[in-house]
Subunit: 457 residues, 2 copies
């Protein structure tokens, strides 16, 4: 993982302080450090040095509260590795200090037996809570949410609500958004702490609260939850179950992580790489292989169409071998332009900038832009065509360039729409897929034009 020189120096000092059991030095090195940074330190001991012992020793010097906080910042694999070396008693103490969402995430990492052992040691409330939160499918609002929110019943005054907020403050993930529930636990309103602060202490919360609460459901896709947070600049989104009962909240920091993770997944999808779920430097080699090979092999077979096209025009090629000189250039250029068009469309769909209704308008725009691109590229390649093969060949290459770039761009732009229409993920229109299709079509277009204009084959 990315590491700075300062970190390297600190590692050495910490190892010394640990060995010498120097509490003062440890306090000086770790005391003021933020949990995210301490977690990073532990990661480097594991990633770079394979040194779980030192990482565990460091974790042990921290209070349970701090240790739990640090533990929650660790990567999944690091949590698993360290947990393997921790006694149940200690691990449970740390887990109890973690946010309920992070605790549940960890539970989904450990095996059955360990889970049982840990649950047995937990207080009943926490045990039920973790089993509940851990039951949701990964990638949904349920899996993201925390149960540490502030909820009050209807009918309270502003000052009563403030008191509740103050009481719950130490345990809540966020105390800045308060949720009002009815007798059945259903979400009926929300109020921000800011609104509470500026209101008259005697005013009724029910009069001030927002009743049409922006919310999501436990089975909502995490991507959509993040979009909600982004659209309305929310601090947190409440999550309800099928009965509209409030069961958790997803906070802005988790939404931020989701946006980045989803972007990474989209970037990988754009290269026909399957979901890795872990950083590229840490994902197991076999998994990395499996997530890349599927489409690579499919596209090998896809590329046979290019070959078939070439076989069909073998006589044309034999008659004017100089034509082959321009083949990679033409299909490569078409592929580049097409991949650009596909990427713009897929990303536009992902950010909500482009919708299914926009197909016609985008088609028209792409027609114009791709025409201009093709023309420019044809003008760029024409002189080389003259030098390499003469005027006739130059004409063939120029016309082919315009045609292939136009065709490729329009195909690249339309493919995501078509896939969406068929009920598939538009992002399947990846750069490798689009370029493979354009390669095959480009071969046919080029040699057809050549045969026709040069009277070959």
């Amino acid at each position: 993982m990315a590491m700075t020189d300062g970190l390297q120096a600190d590692k050495a000092l910490l190892e010394t302080a640990l060995v010498q059991k120097d509490q003062t030095a440890l306090e000086a090195l770790l005391g003021k450090r933020r949990s995210a940074d301490v977690a990073e330190l532990l990661e480097t001991f594991i990633d770079d040095d394979d040194d779980e012992a030192t990482a565990l020793a460091l974790l042990e010097t921290l209070s349970f509260e701090r240790g739990g906080n640090v533990f929650s910042y660790l990567q999944d694999e690091t949590q698993q590795r360290l947990a393997d070396g921790m006694a149940d008693k200690w691990l449970v103490k740390l887990l109890e200090e973690m946010g309920s969402d992070e605790r549940a995430d960890f539970f989904n990492l450990v095996g059955e037996d360990r889970r049982e052992a840990l649950l047995r040691r937990m207080a009943r409330h926490e045990r039920e809570e973790v089993l509940h939160l851990a039951s949701y499918q990964e990638g949904t609002a349920g899996a993201l949410m925390t149960a540490d929110y502030v909820a009050i019943p209807a009918g309270l005054s502003v000052s009563q609500a403030m008191m509740r907020a103050r009481q719950t403050a130490p345990d809540a993930e966020t105390v800045y958004q308060i949720y009002i529930l009815d007798g059945d636990g259903r979400l009926i309103g929300t109020l921000s702490l800011r609104q509470l602060m500026v209101a008259r202490p005697g005013a009724a919360v029910d009069d001030l609260m927002i009743r049409d609460v922006i919310h999501t459901r436990v089975d909502a896709e995490q991507e959509d939850v993040a979009k909600l947070v982004a659209r309305y600049d929310l601090l947190a989104v409440p999550v309800v179950d099928d009965s509209d009962r409030l069961v958790g909240i997803v906070t802005h920091d988790d939404a931020l992580d989701v946006v980045e993770a989803e972007a990474t997944e989209d970037i990988h999808k754009g290269m026909s790489i399957g979901q890795l779920e872990t950083g590229v430097s840490r994902v197991p080699l076999l998994k990395l292989y499996r997530k890349r090979i599927v489409w690579l092999v499919l596209l090998v077979f896809g590329n046979l169409f290019s070959g078939a096209g070439i076989a069909f025009f073998e006589d044309t090629i034999a008659a004017q071998v100089a034509l082959v000189f321009f083949l990679p250039l033409l299909i490569g250029s078409g592929g580049n332009a097409g991949a650009q068009a596909a990427t713009l469309t897929v990303r536009g769909m992902a950010t909500g900038d482009v919708g299914v209704r926009d197909w016609g308008k985008l088609m028209g725009r792409e027609l114009l832009v791709a025409g201009a691109l093709g023309l420019t590229m044809a003008l760029a390649v024409a002189p080389i065509g003259v030098v390499r093969g003469g005027e006739a060949v130059a004409l063939v290459v120029a016309i082919s360039m315009i045609t292939i770039v136009l065709f490729g761009s329009l195909l690249g732009m339309c493919l995501p729409f078509l896939l969406d229409r068929l009920g598939w993920d538009p992002a399947t229109a990846s750069a490798p897929l689009v370029t493979t299709v354009i390669d095959a079509c480009g071969v046919v277009i080029y040699f057809s034009i050549a045969s026709h204009l040069l009277g070959l084959g």
Copy 2:
């Protein structure tokens, strides 16, 4: 833009209500609607119907406060178009209700003359503030930040601080993080509202506050500011100037927008598309052309190397034309694998998962994975080689496949590191660039192996 059927129906009702000046209907349709949603409505009137008049009429029905809020949710182009149709007096009233960051962003959209006219109508404090905030380069913390934060001097008690927070609450972007400044306005500490709430009213803020405040500078890249917010799960990051004076804060919602915008930029960069700054459905056609053509033309010339390679091996091709059948397949496959490797590396660097030091480790991992990928793909293509050209050709194609995929993957993985070493943006190692390089190398590798093993040319 993406639009729902519900929106379509509402548009019709709104148009009717406006024409009939039906206040009750307007209140029913707009009253409970969130500002982000009203803004979306205005956008559709402009994007779909080119109907500024209705959009302006709608905006006029709102209070200044609501109108300013809605205006701040509009896209840049929409703000400009509407502002063109608004009297200075009205526009300034709306601007005064916007957050200071959004007000400054708008000022950077209008021409000199309009700016002067608007500034003349503004209160002195706001005028200075907007000139200050608008002076920062786009893409920096200064351009992102808002001046609407809560700051208190050192030496206050908890209850005094709470009172200040309560007083500033209506105007502050966020009241949940309080900043403590010294006599010169320098940032010396921070405290969350939560911490204030649970503290003893008589306690000294200076004793409770965090002194080592995570902060950023006015000229920091927005990408780095967002990373800070993500890493430490911050609600807001304070921004200081060269003298460490607090000048603004960047809130979590702006960080979220930055993460998405930066991801879009990275996705476009991965296809050699320059920064569009606007959605693909709205960016001016000429700009879309300019941002795509640069690399497309450069790569046309880059593709000439493939052509040169083919020219060099013209005799080999002439002797065994069946070889050309496999050319697109081999260089296409190598390009796909290489583009995958480059994308994984570039994204890894962008998310901080991969650092310069990791080159050796990643090289080793890629060697193994690419070897496996190449072998699998060679086995997939070998039977077709036998059918198409006989055993000798199949062997040539299989060996070429392994070699090209290995070479391409390692090249794709290394290129971002090399570019970074040269001080360039690693993301320049885009899919089109990588595939173009691999095309050229692939041609040479394939025909060299063919010449050698088949004794040709």
